[in-house]
Amino acid sequence: MKKGVMRPGHVQIRVLDIEEAVKHYTDLMGLIETDRDEQGRVYLKAWTEVDKFSVVLVEADEPGCDFMGFKVVDEAALVQLEKDLVAYGLDVEQIPEGELKDCGRRVRFTVPSGHAFELYADKLYTGKWGVTEVNPEAWPRGLSGMKAVRFDHCLFYGPELAAVYDIFVNVLGFHLAEQVLDPEGTRIAQFLTVSMKEHDIAFIHHEEKGKFHHASFYLETWEDVLRAADLISMTDTSIDIGPTRHGLTHGKTIYFFDPSGNRNEVFCGGDYTYPDHKPVTWQAEQLGKAIFYHDRQLNERFLTVLT
């Protein structure tokens, strides 16, 4: 049942070299730099996003993901969700308004898989980039590289998937769209959504806590995914796998790495879900096909190369 969580809002990604990373996320992926702050963090957005930023890059000794934030419908929902998280027994941390530039107060909590999440209700509305609000053109000229359309989802690796499911579904109002079950019926992958998309966030079981598998960005067409692959070659960017199709979600995809080794995805297509849909289930015995529908086998990197 919906509890007021609306959509993925932002992700803060740690990088080893900020300028190299900015070049990757802007020139190659087509995000737009919208601001920087005193901590040296760089704020980026994809062109169709209405708020000021969705990706925050921060220079650090160790790459990975600091947190992912979800936007909630309003302050009242934020107050209620915060109470619900506390009642569930989670510690919540208050991040004051403005700690991320032009973003309202955030409520941060860490789930048992070791990942930090945030909820917030307000962020500066800057509108879609490069098109007018009234009588907009189809797309803006002047986009770079892959011309990423929006920040779409993240995949995290960690333990305690059942507890994470409980929080996301029963406290935050997410809906389980897809899952992978092992022969004993234990869920080893869960794709959760607050929208019609097959995932706004996904988790795969892994012994080590808090690992980051990828941040994903939406493209419109398969042709765009192929063009992304061309650009990856042209720029000698580190490729992981693709272009190919996932069995899970059936999205068409390519995986590659940013200059600090964080995995990125751009994808198009994919199935849709409504809250009355039963979860789509893949069996762990078919995990290869579930992840890479054409190869039908996992590359070792998919399970072990993480930041």
Binding site: L16, D17, P63, R187, E207, F257, S260, G261, R301
Partner: protein, 107 residues
Amino acid sequence: MAVFHVINRTTGDRFRCDEGQSVLKAMELVGKKCVPVGCRGGGCGFCKIRVVEGEFRCGKMSKAHCPPEALDKGEVLACRIYPRTDLMIECMPQPAAPLAEQTKTKP
């Protein structure tokens, strides 16, 4: 431009590495597979090796996988080292659990 040679004494593989090229990239270019290839960005630790002989320059590497103590022992990430002389390297045991264990959820 200088050309160096890298010998992996664990596997016996030998390959050339141009000045300014990372050891991992040089290995991939000649189609060898004697060091595991992950992110190629110094982030995942998959390509960790030990350099037992030779001089090299380091690029930025994740502290999680290459803390200063490791660096002192010559334990580095092959995707982020650039030879200055010929190098003798050896493989490191892979810390990652095998595939079957990775996907198991504790009951």
